[in-house]
């Protein structure tokens, strides 16, 4: 492996447009970086912000949300709900100090395999430039608690002891 940082990105796709766009990218042998791992939902309207937060809190460096273009949702209008949730989530994440490039929304129709691949490449580059998110992983379903020493060690790396003993 080279030394360049390889981000891990979780991508959410809808069953009807963007997942099929990913299929089409495959069928057409369009190349894109292997950093994105896709999850299929029935619709971008299924995207619960919890999923995004969970991914970021568990080691993903970024999240890509995709869906049908506005007005072309197979469930008529549910991607607008995804859009609204995304915009509010983005504001919330900004308040948590997470860069906007780390959670992006991309519309891709079933015919836009090449476009989806381009967007993935673009997002990977943007996230690579930002560096790892490194969100200290929290207690998860497998049960390793996040101890206060660990939390402390996170800051020790970055802040000098002088800060507290000034």
């Amino acid at each position: 492996m080279s030394d360049t940082f390889e981000p891990v990105i979780i991508g959410f796709t809808c069953n009807w447009c963007s997942y099929r766009a990913a299929d089409l990218a495959g069928t057409a042998r369009v190349k894109y970086p292997p950093n994105v791992r896709l999850i299929r939902l029935m619709c971008s309207g299924r995207l619960d912000p919890t999923f995004v937060l969970h991914a970021l809190a568990n080691g993903a460096d970024a999240v890509m949300i995709t869906g049908c273009h506005p007005g072309e949702c197979h469930y008529i209008e549910q991607n607008y709900k995804a859009l609204r949730r995304f915009l509010l989530l983005r504001r919330t994440l900004a308040g948590m100090g997470i860069e906007p490039q780390r959670v992006q929304l991309v519309w891709a129709s079933a015919a836009e395999g090449a476009r989806l691949a381009e967007e993935i490449a673009r997002i990977v580059e943007e996230v690579r430039a930002l560096g790892p998110l490194h969100w200290p992983t929290s207690t998860d379903l497998y049960g390793k608690p996040f101890s206060e020493e660990e939390a402390f060690s996170v800051t020790k790396e970055t802040s000098a002891p002088a800060e507290v003993n000034a």
Partner: protein, 682 residues
């Protein structure tokens, strides 16, 4: 309380999972180290329940499927993960294989390592790693699956056909002939649609009325068809197999049971108005009118906006002269409710409004006509009895310019090709030539004559001496510059084959304006719970493989409602939609995918956040209990309400929070962290 300290899960996994990695010949194995993925799954995911992992050349082959079946039986597998191609290709295959072996088909998960890995990546190492992650996500997801059963819904034998154009007529006749009842709803006073306005049909030049009228009459007389003209669907409740449709039957002010269609009322009516509908604004009709002589049904309609009686309270000429006392000024709109099992939408198209291309002068320059105006002009039953004349009503044009692609293939208006205009323009050229001997110019971008006998017709028109100028017309103007241009309409165009600007003075311009979705297509789509593309065409379930079905079970679409089409394709779609419906009716019941949302009532507090989120009207609020519920048969499984519920009271099958969060953790390899001590990172 979410990051609650949870003790380690018991080391004994709950499920027995089989993992199958497909080579797909060299399609996957060429880029992904399949054996490594298999070994990795066997070792590193054993603590998550993977008891067997295999790789095989072609998992989808019958031998591959047998491999799975054998393991289910012999190893007692309770879950199956196949890492192969896209679920859109083979999900059903592997589900069936599991079902044959006695495992609930929904306990099988297919993850794509071909479309998402081997075909799009080149680095073998990175691709293998990604394949592992995807497989790991699948394992975490599948262990949280629950056994599901498809929903079975009975099908009501009646069908609703909306739109009485040729597509709707064809669909209605096919179903009625097969012996099942049909309600054919048309919002105009007569069925027939656009085709009834045409003169000749390309490329055979048969008379539109001659081929359409017999069909209209059959539809009107058919014992299985209930014809509801001057009617509109206002509401659709229910779901596939069991729709309740509310239809507004607008008041005709004519008692249909008494009317003989003699037409005296129309004759005696003193009020003459421009007929914007049937005559495309080029002719007149009365306020009490039968839209055209061959109309089906033959009953007239009183247009209350223009009727003298409705405006001033006097006149009543129609009533006085009606021999059967059929005129009833007190008639009111009626609302009917019908039960149907399936619905076919054949709502047709609107013509592009040529006024929008203001540089072509339609509406300002008298002798610029639209295609539909020309259809009426050339129709022997039209306002000029088929004489092709200028708007003064007498002068025969000596030179005619036909402009293609008006509003189509144009970034300012519609990007799409309207499909029929080339052939229609060629037909116009032929008719003008034949009937007036005028010089005819066609201004085109490309000539598209792709169906049977179309290009032969183009050759024929070329041989007849019609002139073709390849270029997009810049302007149609009456501002003369040179002698010879005065009193003419000048077409300014770049002739791209010659590479020159040309000004061609003509007497008449015909704009081949394109086809657009119905102005109210979006509202119609909302009523029926289906979707429109951004420009307004109704969206088919699959553009190639399922062109007359929609995403909403039980609702079919045919004809120009889905996009521009010529008459043969329109008729074919009408018949195809009918065939799909007949198949459904014959089966008697339908199995629906069990991807559904449901409400845990004890957690629902009746906040009503979800209430207006469902475009399929599956969500109902119960005032008495102050809780919301979801109708499983109406639910299409998009999951928007599941994601929206602030109390977490709505759950979705097949895409539950647990499944998706499990998959996220699997993809991020968090599941490896409970691996036995000493096992290194992947």
């Amino acid at each position: 309380m979410s990051n609650r300290f949870i003790p380690l899960e018991p080391m004994q996994p709950r499920e027995r999972i089989g993992v199958y990695v497909c080579h797909c010949g060299s399609n996957i194995a060429g880029t992904v180290d399949v054996a490594e993925v298999r070994d990795w799954a066997e070792k590193r995911l054993a603590h998550r329940g993977v008891v067997v992992a295999r790789d095989y050349k072609f998992m989808c082959s019958s031998l591959g499927q047998e491999l799975i079946a054998k393991d289910i039986k012999e190893q007692g597998l309770t879950r199956v993960v196949v890492a192969a191609c896209s679920p859109h290709l083979h999900e059903q295959t592997f589900r069936k294989a599991c079902q044959m072996a006695g495992l609930n088909p929904y306990l099988c998960e297919l993850v794509s390592i071909r479309e998402q890995v081997s075909w799009v990546h080149t680095d073998k190492h990175a691709a293998t790693d990604k394949a592992k992650a995807i497989l790991s996500g699948g394992v975490e997801r599948v262990m949280r699956h629950t056994p599901l059963e498809p929903l079975h819904v009975p099908i009501h034998p009646a069908t609703l056909v909306v739109g009485g154009g040729i597509a709707g007529i064809q669909a209605a006749l096919e179903i009625a002939d097969a012996g099942f009842p049909v309600y054919l709803v048309e919002r105009e006073p007569s069925i027939g649609g656009h085709m009834a306005q045409f003169d000749k049909t390309f490329p055979t030049l048969d008379c539109a009325a001659c081929i359409l009228t017999p069909r209209m009459v059959s539809a009107g007389n058919h014992p299985n068809i209930t014809l509801l003209t001057w009617s509109e669907v206002t509401r659709v409740d229910g779901y596939v197999g069991n729709f309740t449709v509310t239809i507004r039957k607008k008041a005709r002010y004519v008692k249909e049971e008494l009317c003989t269609g003699c037409g005296v009322c129309q004759e005696k009516c003193p009020k003459r108005v421009v007929d914007e509908q049937y005559e495309a604004g080029l002719g007149f009709r009365k306020a009490c009118y039968i839209p055209f002589p061959q109309a089906v049904p033959k009953y007239p309609v009183i247009d209350t906006e223009n009727c003298v009686f409705f405006a001033k309270g006097t006149c009543k000429a129609c009533q006085k002269f009606c021999p059967t006392n059929a005129i009833d000024y007190d008639q009111k709109d009626e609302y009917l409710s019908v039960q149907v099992g399936n619905i076919i939408l054949a709502t047709g198209y609107d013509l592009f409004d040529a006024r929008r291309v203001s540089q072509y002068g339609y509406g300002r320059l008298a002798n610029v006509f639209t295609s539909l105006e020309f259809e009426r002009l050339s129709n022997s039953a039209g306002p000029t009895n088929g004489n092709i004349v200028l708007r003064d009503g007498v002068t025969t044009p000596k030179t005619v310019g036909i402009i293609h692609c008006v509003g189509s293939r144009d970034r300012n208006f519609n990007n799409y090709c309207s499909a029929i205009c080339c052939m229609q323009s060629l037909k116009f050229a032929h008719l003008v030539k034949e009937r007036t001997g005028a010089t005819v110019y066609n201004f085109y971008i490309d000539i598209r004559t792709t169906a049977k006998a179309y290009d032969e017709f183009y050759q024929r028109v070329l041989e007849e001496g019609t002139l073709f100028v390849r270029g997009k017309v810049a302007e149609v103007t009456d501002a003369a510059r040179k002698p010879g241009e005065e009193g003419k309409i000048i077409i300014q165009v770049e002739d791209t084959l010659v590479g020159k600007q040309r000004r061609i003075p003509v007497d008449m311009v015909i704009l081949a304006n394109g086809l657009e979705p119905r102005r109210d297509a979006k509202e119609v789509a909302k009523i029926f719970g289906i979707s429109c593309s951004a420009d307004g065409w109704l969206i088919e379930k699959h553009p190639k493989l399922d062109p007359v079905a929609t995403m909403t079970e039980g609702i079919y679409i045919a004809g120009c409602a889905t996009g521009p089409k010529d008459i043969p394709s329109t008729v074919a779609q009408g018949a195809a939609a009918a065939a799909s419906v007949l198949g459904r009716i014959q089966q008697g019941e339908i199995a629906l995918e069990p991807v559904r949302a449901s409400v845990l009532e004890e957690r629902c507090s009746g906040c009503r956040i979800c209430n207006n989120l469902c475009p399929f009207n599956a969500i109902t609020f119960h005032e008495d209990r102050m809780v919301t519920s979801i109708n499983a048969a109406l639910c299409q499984g998009c999951g928007t309400c599941v994601a929206a519920c602030p109390a977490g009271a709505i759950t979705g099958t097949a895409f539950s929070n647990e499944q998706i969060i499990g998959q996220i953790e699997g993809l991020l390899m968090r599941n490896l962290e409970t691996a036995p001590v000493g096992a290194g990172q992947a």
